[in-house]
């Protein structure tokens, strides 16, 4: 059986526009509420709407608008890469200014690199590598070291104390 996409225009990730839509107080309550959790039941949007004292239609319209205007980047399940059997690490490199662009290209061309940030430190390139299998992490980091000509420091988490993203709107 081939899985059909479900209304691609109506899922939690939508291309952003450049709208300068301003949040109202209901939007703010909605953003704060939806960061905490979402019920698993037949009509979960109606359940959240009733909690916020708005209609289900209003809630769905607001949610679409918040995604479309870029106030929300995503709405849905947040999957745990390692628990699903994947590999994940943070890596850092010390790259002289004249070589940053070349090395950035060598890093970013790997699809397994999910995020890459330049930071104001001698170790100036920091990137996250996520792979389907944990043993593939080493292969990606080795390839980046060979292509760039610089050492790659692998800093896998040894303990996760907290992961959460609650921002008061």
């Amino acid at each position: 059986m081939t899985a059909q996409p479900i209304h691609p225009h109506a899922t939690g990730r939508i291309t952003h526009d450049s709208s300068d839509y301003q949040l109202d107080s209901v939007d703010r309550r909605l953003i704060n509420t939806l960061q905490i959790g979402f019920p698993i039941c037949d009509e979960p949007y109606a359940a959240v709407a009733s909690e916020l004292d708005i209609s289900e239609t209003d809630l769905l319209e607001r949610l679409q608008r918040l995604l479309h205007t870029g106030y929300l980047t995503r709405f849905g399940p947040f999957y745990h890469a390692e628990r699903l059997g994947g590999g994940l690490t943070l890596a850092a490199m010390e790259i002289p200014a004249h070589d940053v662009e070349r090395v950035t290209a060598a890093i970013n061309r790997h699809a397994e690199v999910a995020h890459n940030y330049e930071r104001d430190h001698a170790l100036n390139l920091w990137f996250v590598v996520a792979t389907e299998k944990p043993e593939h992490i080493d292969a990606v980091l080795t390839a980046i070291a060979l292509e760039s000509g610089y050492p790659v420091h692998n800093l896998p988490k040894q303990r996760e104390f907290y992961v959460g993203l609650h921002f008061h709107a």
């Binding site: 899922t11 698993i40 949610l63 918040l66 106030y71 104001d120 907290y162 993203l165």
Partner: protein, 177 residues
């Protein structure tokens, strides 16, 4: 020498969960988001040719076993006015870092907090905490509070601001076996 330094992972290994084919299909269908229709679990069930009760049970189980951290919204924190975001790093006494890491992670402005390996003679920091504020003055206040919390277990610390986002695509699950 062209090599990368790799540190052993001494603790908290993640136990992967064996996923059924149906779980994988649900992950593929929802990694971009949950359907924005009144009955989202029914919509997924129809697509996969199973009952909505089965879909709801799968989500309940993936939440219970940690495959799903949560179901909900991710705000763009820049858009909400959190314009000062930094990676703080701390060299904390190994004997106390487990206890203190929990307390740093519990602070309301910390979004991620991890223990990571040091790099000999190059990187003395073992505790990483991402912090978020509306402006630099917020961050300075948070740093003062974190420094006080760590007390004499803190040997050194630094704050790394991001100067450029070079890539931000997020993780993708391809559904391969």
């Amino acid at each position: 020498m062209l090599a990368f330094t790799s540190m052993p992972d001494p603790g908290q290994t993640e136990t992967p969960v064996t996923l059924a084919q149906l779980d994988r299909q649900l992950i593929l269908l929802t990694q971009d988001g949950l359907p924005l229709v009144p009955r989202p679990f029914d919509a997924l069930a129809t697509t996969l040719g199973v009952s909505a009760d089965e879909v709801k049970a799968r989500f309940e189980r993936m939440l219970a076993n940690g495959c799903i951290r949560r179901i909900g919204a991710a705000p763009n924190h820049y858009r909400l006015g959190y314009r000062a975001n930094a990676m703080t790093v701390w060299d904390v006494d190994d004997a106390r870092v487990m206890e203190l890491g929990e307390r740093i992670g519990a602070l309301p402005y910390v979004s991620h907090c991890y223990l990571r390996p040091r790099i000999p003679s190059q990187w003395p920091y073992n505790l990483f905490a991402m912090i978020h504020g509306k402006n630099r003055a917020d961050l300075d206040g948070y740093l003062t509070e974190m420094t006080a919390l760590l007390g004499n277990a803190r040997r050194a610390s630094d704050l790394l601001l991001s100067t450029r986002i070079l890539k931000k695509t997020g993780m993708r699950f391809s559904g391969g076996q």
